[in-house]
Symmetry: C2
Subunit: 191 residues, 2 copies
C-alpha cells in the first residue's frame, strides 16, 4: 500500500475512534497527517470510502490477533480465546480506552446508513465466526457443556465484549474489560 494512503488510514482509524464519523472532517485529517487535499482524493473518492477502508484495516488487525492467539499452541482453546480478548484490551489501552471502532461506528451510523450497518455487522459476525471455530474445539475436548451452540455462544461473548468496550469508553478505564475476562473466563489465565 502507498505510504500516504497507509498514513491516512492509520490516522483515520485513530480519529474515527475519537471523533466518530460525522464529527470528523477531511480537513482535520489533512491537518493531522500533513497530506494535501488532492492527495487524499487521489487515494479515496470520499470520506465514506476512507472510513470503510479504515474499518477494513481495523478488522484485518482483529483477524491477525485472532490468528496469533487462537492458533493451536498446546493451551486449551478457552485460554486462547481469553488471550484474544486480552490482546484487544492491550490494544484499547494503547488507544486510551476509547473502546472498539466497530461498536462506535456501528452505533453512530447504522440507524441511517445501510452501507455501514451491513459492513459493521459483517465484520462483527466474522470475528464471532472465528471464535466459534475455537469453541467447537473446546466442545470436542470436553471443555464446554454438551450440546452448547458454539456460534450462539461466540456471539454472546462478542456482544458482551462490545458492551464492555462501550463501558470502557464511557469510563476511560480497563475495569469493564477486566470484569468481562473474570466473568466469562474465570478459570483461564493465559500464558
Amino acid at each position: 500500500m502507498h505510504a500516504t494512503k497507509e498514513r491516512l488510514l492509520d490516522e483515520g482509524v485513530a480519529m474515527l475512534l475519537e471523533h466518530g464519523y460525522n464529527d470528523l472532517g477531511i480537513q482535520a485529517i489533512l491537518a493531522r497527517t500533513g497530506v494535501p487535499k488532492g492527495s487524499f482524493y487521489h487515494h479515496f473518492p470520499s470520506k465514506e470510502e476512507m472510513a470503510l477502508q479504515a474499518v477494513d484495516l481495523y478488522v484485518s488487525l482483529g483477524h491477525e490477533l485472532l490468528e496469533v492467539t487462537l492458533a493451536p499452541d498446546g493451551r486449551p482453546p478457552l485460554h486462547r480465546i481469553r488471550g484474544f480478548f486480552e490482546r484487544l484490551r492491550e490494544l484499547y489501552a494503547s488507544q486510551g480506552y476509547l473502546g472498539c471502532l466497530l461498536g462506535a461506528l456501528g452505533q453512530e451510523l447504522s440507524g441511517a446508513n445501510e452501507v455501514f450497518r451491513k459492513k459493521i455487522e459483517e465484520c462483527v459476525a466474522s470475528i464471532a465466526g472465528r471464535i466459534a471455530v475455537c469453541l467447537e474445539e473446546a466442545g470436542d475436548g470436553g471443555d464446554l457443556p454438551t450440546g452448547v451452540d458454539c456460534r450462539g455462544y461466540a456471539d454472546a461473548l462478542v456482544n458482551a465484549w462490545e458492551g464492555a468496550a462501550l463501558r470502557s469508553r464511557l469510563l476511560r478505564s480497563p475495569a469493564p474489560l477486566d470484569a468481562f475476562l473474570d466473568f466469562y473466563f474465570p478459570g483461564s489465565v493465559s500464558g
Copy 2:
C-alpha cells in the same frame, strides 16, 4: 411540561436514535415536528441541551420500567429482572430495533465530548445500580451463588445487554436480545 417541549423531546429521542447526534440538524427536527425555530430556542438554548434532555427523558422511561418490573410482586427477583429486559425488548420492537439510545450516543459522542461521556455513564450506572438492588434480594433468597458481587453482576448484565442492543441495531432484529435473555436468564419465564 409544555406540550411543544414534550413533542420536541419525544421526536428528539426518536430522531437521535435513528440519526445519532451529529447527523441530526435542528432544521430536521423542526420539519418533523412543525415547531417554529423560535419556539425550539425558547425551550432549548442549543441542540446539545435538547439532546441532554432527550437522554433524561429516555432514562426516566427506563427507570419507570425498572419500578414496574422490579417491584416485589411474588415472583422471584431474577424473573423480575428478566421482565425488565423483556420490556426493553418490547420498546426496541416498537422503534424498529434501533437499539439503545444510551449506547448509541455513548459510542458516538464520548470520544470527544466529556459532557455526554459523563452523562451517559451516569445513566447506565444508575440502571445497573437499581438492578444490583434486586440481585441482592435474589442473593438473600438463595437464588445466586454465595458471595456473588451483585453490583459487578448487574454491570455485567447491563453491559451484555448493551452489546446485544448494538447487534440488534446492526441486524434490525430481536434475535440478539432473545439470545441475551436465553443466555443470562435460562430458567426464567416471566408471567
